[in-house]
Symmetry: C2
């Protein structure tokens, strides 16, 4: 599909003996008599994959920003239909629905960056701690393992949803450019083919998501046994309070308040996780299913809680970064971007918000209006927000996505450069071929 020349296949061994000492035995061990010692945590065996996942969450931002830039620039320059007779045609990016297609994805692009930064911090801390821990130090190892567990599950969720998110951004950005997006002059085709492998390697996204969901259920079970939770799942400890949280008397202003929005996500995430934990305990304790069977039966629930928990993490990281930004017009502009992302995310999960009764149907109508409103606000800064990525025209590699916005000119130049208009018809064209091909002769 992409990455031609990179051969991946499979390998099958029959009766091949590999010396025991060829095995890397820091955690899992095999002695001379063939006795296997399992690592203290299964995930340690996959530890080397975590670095890859962390960087793929960051890559998602790096790749998405290129394609959202092309689409925003094209949408801000291309006009189609006028809304009133005699008026100039409207720019695509001034249409409500075009804004809704692209601007939340521009916001998502920003959000992926802040989330990846947070994940990198966790990764460096956790791997340093593990590297500095002696394997014989049981207590130290246990503490390092707890951190790795958190990292494993968060990086699984972020890798999956960021790489899917980036694939979606490339695809939607392409579609928003119509036929030009499909054209080989505009970078989208190879960009998608090259990127989309990220959804299935270094841990298939679906498998990773299910495993992140399993970890969330395990955290919920541990909490009920009295364990203290920290890190990204800390909010589960506040489940009771969150269940009864609400919007207060002024819904409209509450829905523009980052703290309230974060609380709304924490509320539905904790309720969804607790409901899955309830079902899990019922299946394992009352219906005597094995852990594997119970997790299997709760596959959809695991997928859903991983999806919303990961989204909560991304939203929180975005708001926290905005909070740390120096006061001024820039801060206001990025706060609008963060609010757009968070409110649009609520709209996309309306089923879960309604199920847990955090919002009423009327609130959701308000949120739809707010998404429209924040789209209009972000529209004003859309070119600035994409120019800020500071991508060269060479890197953009798309005639319709150049910095100067004069896309018909650069497009025509690119097409002409690659297809120099030279005479390629044979000398006998006029005497022999033209009379055969040209239908004006029929009319003569």
């Amino acid at each position: 599909m992409g990455r031609d020349g990179v051969d991946n296949g499979w390998i099958t061994f029959s009766n091949v003996r590999i010396p025991r000492t060829f095995m890397m035995m820091r955690f899992a061990r095999v002695d001379k008599n063939g006795n296997v010692t399992q690592p203290p945590l299964a995930q340690l065996a996959y530890g080397a994959l975590i670095g890859g996942r962390v960087s793929m969450a960051a890559d998602s931002f790096q790749v998405a920003k290129k394609f959202i830039t092309i689409a925003v620039r094209y949408g801000a320059a291309r006009r189609q239909f006028s809304s009133e007779d005699g008026q100039p045609e409207t720019k695509l990016l001034d249409y409500t629905y075009h804004q809704r297609r692209l601007l939340p994805l521009l916001a998502y692009t920003y959000a992926m960056r802040t989330a990846a930064d947070g994940l990198y911090d966790m990764y460096y801390n956790a791997t340093e701690k593990l590297a500095n821990t002696n394997v014989s130090d049981k207590q130290g190892l246990q503490s390092a393992i707890e951190d790795i567990k958190e990292l494993f599950s968060l990086s699984a969720g972020l890798k999956a949803f960021s790489t899917w998110g980036c694939g979606h951004i490339i695809d939607e950005a392409r579609q928003s450019c119509g036929g030009h997006g499909y054209s080989s002059y505009n970078a989208f085709g190879p960009g998608y083919a090259d990127w989309i492998v990220n959804t299935i390697w270094e841990g298939d996204n679906n498998v990773l998501t299910l495993s992140a969901g399993r970890a969330l259920v395990q955290s919920g079970v541990a909490l009920r046994k009295g364990k203290r939770l920290g890190g990204p799942v800390e909010y589960l400890s506040r489940s009771e309070e969150l269940k009864n949280a609400g919007l207060g008397s002024n819904h409209d202003s509450a829905l523009r308040d980052p703290a309230t929005i974060i609380k709304s996500w924490e509320s539905i995430c904790s309720q969804a996780i607790n409901s899955t934990v309830d079902k899990f305990l019922e299946l394992t304790q009352k219906e005597n299913l094995s852990l594997t069977q119970a997790f299997e039966q709760l596959s959809l629930q695991r997928f859903q809680i991983a999806r919303i928990h990961t989204r909560l993490y991304v939203i929180r990281s975005f708001f926290e970064r905005v909070e740390k930004t120096q006061d001024g017009p820039l801060k206001k502009a990025v706060l609008d971007v963060a609010l757009l992302f968070a409110l649009w995310s609520i709209e996309n999960e309306s089923g879960i918000f309604l199920k847990y009764n955090f919002f009423t149907p009327d609130d959701l109508d308000t949120i739809t209006e707010l998404v429209n409103e924040y789209c209009r606000k972000v529209r004003v800064n859309a070119i600035g927000l994409t120019d800020a990525f500071n991508l060269s025209d060479y890197y953009i590699n798309s005639a319709i996505g150049n910095y100067n916005g004069d896309f018909y000119k650069s497009y025509f130049e690119k097409v002409t450069r690659r297809n120099p208009p030279e005479e390629i018809r044979p000398p006998y064209y006029d005497s022999l071929m033209r009379p055969f091909f040209d239908r004006t002769n029929d009319e003569a």
Copy 2:
């Protein structure tokens, strides 16, 4: 991206005079003095595009069936991890989540066929009527125009959602095959690149969807003015009754009953359309917005109602086809497929079903269980349901999707055939290159 060699661009005219008589003037006319007579219905000008849209709804089925077949065959043959120690590894398609990924899409593939058939019937009837109507026959033309309107809006929705649906099926089927799906030996890459242009040509999918949504609002407005509605929007006339419809006393059996499921879709569709009509009338009558402005402001709502109305049409067409099938085990098998499709579709629109209070959160939990259950039922027949498409291995063109299911063997043969293992290293390889490249020398 795909379709290399098919050049599409744009054309710009400056000061070019085109003779008036070059214009095709069946409906729109320009007289010698430059006076323009608009066609009696704007859509007539686009009439020629309708045939393309109708056939693309059918094409969506034709293309989707190839890729869902590959994924189902691979999932039924490939094993990964055993659920209990010492047991054989589990087939991918026996995992709950893998079933949920593929089997509703297999059901959707079947559904797209029944929907396209219904659309073709409408198309032939409406275009025949129009062709047989004399332009001076005002009443006859009006009746033909009503049919064309219905056809225009239904074909717009079905073209958009079927072509997106097929793109999604190719993509999800590919991802479900892991790295093999990405491999150029397995048909997905070129298949996607070739197909996905269908989402943006012959009417861009988003624009078509918004226009289908506008037509639904117009139908709702016309109904309030006393007009009788027929065809796919007939259910709007029953809005009051549908609003108060419910599941009766036995929810579990009601949720397995096609008539009740269709009614549930009619209920939420009519409520969503009516709510949009209310807003539309408020904007145009109380807030004095122009029709264009009001439609623009209701873009999201138009998109949503077009999406669920189109899905209702597809579900209904599937159940009606099943109903016409001769009684017997085949009928039971396809009824399970139709139920899976309809219930999974409800799950995907849970936000709207909860908003209009047709189902309770508990009902939705039941529906999640039912989707799992019908996945297991359809799993039993999955190979039969895909073999029924009767696609040759040549057409499938994918090593992992061959009829016999022996994919490692056919894969290896294909790879070997395309890359014959001949000696391509130069004669000086052993003496000069090998010592340079081979790191075993370092250890010597």
